[in-house]
Symmetry: C2
Subunit: 211 residues, 2 copies
């Protein structure tokens, strides 16, 4: 059955990005620390076209999270390029071969033609809301899952609307102190932990969102 | 070796109590939901002089957390009785036989004579700061651990001062949306997950605070 999933690295104090996010530093101050566990990993490196890396509990979790995803949804800020009408030369943070290798639906208030990239990623810009983006992503994903890639506000909207089936949190034992919080304005969803995998650095908890 | 420990139930969005805490509702709105997993448990019930309850992963965690504690420290708000000089008839929330069964040092700005209770609990009121309370608790605990019982502000102070060795979080999959946050104003401690125990309802992660 097709699920709507989301996996995110979150600090122990609940932030998915540090303070003072900018185009130069999209993860905010200290935000890179949230992802260090992934960068050194074989699964993450393979997804990003890099050799090497470690094989361990973390890489298994990453691999599992990437498998079976047929389409992605992300917010405008995660795609980047600043506010307002699109500058056509902005094609995301990820270069010519983005690590998605699948259709990606980008929420935006500004129209833009679809942007096919190398490696199977096509960015399609959706101007009529999260339900429409999900409908398009579901159709594109076929019998595979739809993953909400981020950022925080996009995840919040899908969670608050009752449209998320699974929230997979990578609990990174750092304190950012400030930044962008994940779990605000999400209502009162009922969550059930269905899988917990502990590595020496990160605790991975997969929650099912109950209806 | 004697450790300074702390175990707390925390919501997925980081709160250890709900909003609008009061003398009538010290856990705040919805805050009781943080502790439901414990109330039904054999270990918790035994500590509170009650029969029955479930034996499961949660009760093992609770039992482990209670073992080896020779003294407790808590904040004034957790002991209760309101602000200002002590009303002598207030003896805490827990009745004549509090569930500590050990010396408890209560941080306060107001002097009060020690208060011996039934079952081995004695409340000693400390007016000269957290370091003094810890020194007294360490001496009282002998070779056993000192547990910071709460509330959030007291834990924050010990964590920020680098005086906490172990933080044991019971991650309860609920969203409180507002209330008293645990991990604010604690600086940038380095934490290492050293034990993760998953139950169907709660994920228990024990962190060591690295120096």
């Amino acid at each position: 059955m097709q699920s709507v999933t989301c996996q995110l690295s979150v600090s122990l104090d609940g932030f998915v990005a540090g303070p003072n996010q900018s185009l130069e530093n999209p993860l905010g101050e200290g935000g890179m620390r949230l992802h260090e566990w992934a960068f050194s990993n074989a699964s993450w490196r393979a997804q990003h076209g890099l050799d090497g890396g470690e094989h361990n509990a973390d890489s298994e979790v990453l691999e599992g999270a990437m498998q079976g995803v047929g389409a992605y949804i992300m917010g405008r800020k995660m795609f980047g390029g600043g506010d307002g009408p699109w500058q056509q030369d902005w094609k995301g943070w990820w270069g010519e071969d983005p690590p998605y290798h699948a259709p990606v639906f980008v929420l935006s208030h500004h129209p833009r033609e679809p942007l096919p990239m190398q490696g199977g990623t096509t960015f399609t810009f959706v101007n009529d809301g999260i339900a429409s983006a999900l409908e398009q992503a579901r159709a594109a994903a076929g019998d595979q899952d739809v993953a909400i890639a981020g950022g925080a506000q996009t995840v919040q909207q899908y969670l608050a609307a009752g449209l998320l089936d699974e929230l997979h949190l990578h609990l990174v034992p750092i304190i950012l102190g400030a930044g962008e919080r994940l779990l605000v304005d999400v209502g009162n969803p009922l969550l059930q932990p269905v899988q917990v995998i502990a590595s020496p650095t990160v605790t991975h908890v997969k929650y099912r969102v109950l209806r």
